[in-house]
Subunit: 237 residues, 2 copies
């Protein structure tokens, strides 16, 4: 937690209040927060501030805003990822948010176990987003969408996410072309499930305008390949 | 598991044998292995083969080697990372191995909890390396070293890991320079603990020849920053 994210309603009076149990615990256990400390605070969907701690009790920490700080820029990327195992979902969302992904789409695919869509974790995406934003020092949540049918998504929705200035790349170990690096434009990035997209899916994606690109001959896990690809694509920034 | 990693002793006769419980379970549950299937196999520290399954029982799978396949190249990088929480260690080693890191050094640092060095997970590094190699399709383990004292390491060991052709970069959110991208040479990469290296440590690293470099104004978790940095640094390959 590198900033404390507050709801706008918590910042309506002159002094702001932290009342979330999770945030209070973190501030006491990890930071040993004291009156007079400086604390970085973000307002959800709003600005980021440096604040001064003016009161610390069991139930509340009160803050006085001091100065506006810059909110980090997003990466101009729409990340489309095959729905991962529930255990992986949390980390994947957190990391994608931390890295600054602008839009996230969770997609069904042949090798996605249908049971994953029943996971209670899907109801907790907002918590993972908050953790990712607090890690990064960001305040603006990405848009997250869910598409449970592969073909209609690829044929009817995906083309609208692509333009000449915003190409779509699908990571595919057996592609001939390599994933580009240090691009200076937006893109859509598709990452398959464990075991990869099946050939039919790759064909359909390519037919609908995606470029299949390889990261070399190592096979990398979904959650790792996201960070690796984003570093490669947006290394220039 | 994208290859099955065998000990050289398991490949001494004409037919090779898989007898590890973990590997047999994976092959039966995830791949539903049958006689006649093709299976990718690597010999630890040796070659990689395409093989044919010739026998499947409860206790053993027997294979006939068919053809040599290329082992993926390593990234020319020595990764020096502050000892992470035990929970993170497993994933960090696995991912670093999967991504092809050549040498890994686990280092103490001021913000590393001393208890981390007592973790039983430290005795299991070889298991995590195996999982990382099997994920990547690699056969060659990186060298892993442990240094429990920061200053002697930085002053006496680190300089020997750097040359004009192999600079050392320490990721530091407050550095003025940015981390380079798409480099075409080897490097040493230092990643701090959660909370980062302290200013004294950064100063000592810089005094001993490291370049402090930033990844922008997002603060990224240790395990995520490794994949992100490697993608950025070696995006060209």
């Amino acid at each position: 937690m590198n900033i404390v994210l507050l709801d706008p309603r918590q910042t309506e009076s002159e002094l702001w209040s932290i009342t979330s149990k999770r945030q209070l615990e973190h501030l006491k256990q990890h930071i040993d927060i004291q009156v007079g400390n400086t604390l970085k605070v973000g307002i959800r969907e709003g600005l980021r501030y440096s604040t001064e701690v003016v009161e610390v009790t069991e139930q509340i920490v009160k803050l006085k805003p001091i100065q506006i700080e810059p909110v980090p820029a997003k990466l101009p990327v729409t990340l489309i990822v095959a729905m991962p195992r529930p255990k992986v979902l949390r980390r994947l969302i957190m990391d994608s948010v931390t890295l600054g992904v602008e839009n996230i789409i969770l997609l069904h695919s042949y090798r996605v176990d249908k049971s994953y869509w029943q996971s209670p974790f899907l109801q907790q995406l907002d918590q993972y987003v908050t953790l990712g934003l607090e890690q990064a020092g960001d305040t603006v949540a990405p848009k997250i969408e869910i598409y449970k049918r592969f073909k209609p998504f690829v044929e009817d929705v995906l083309p609208s996410l692509m333009t000449a200035e915003k190409p779509a790349y699908v990571a595919h170990p057996y592609a001939q072309s390599k994933m580009p690096f240090a691009i200076e434009h937006a893109c859509t990035l598709l990452i398959g499930p464990e075991g990869g997209f099946i050939p039919y899916e790759i064909d359909l994606l390519v037919k609908n305008g995606c470029q299949a690109v390889s990261l070399g001959n190592r096979i990398i896990r979904t959650e790792t390949v996201i960070a690796y690809s984003l570093g490669r694509l947006f290394g220039v920034s």
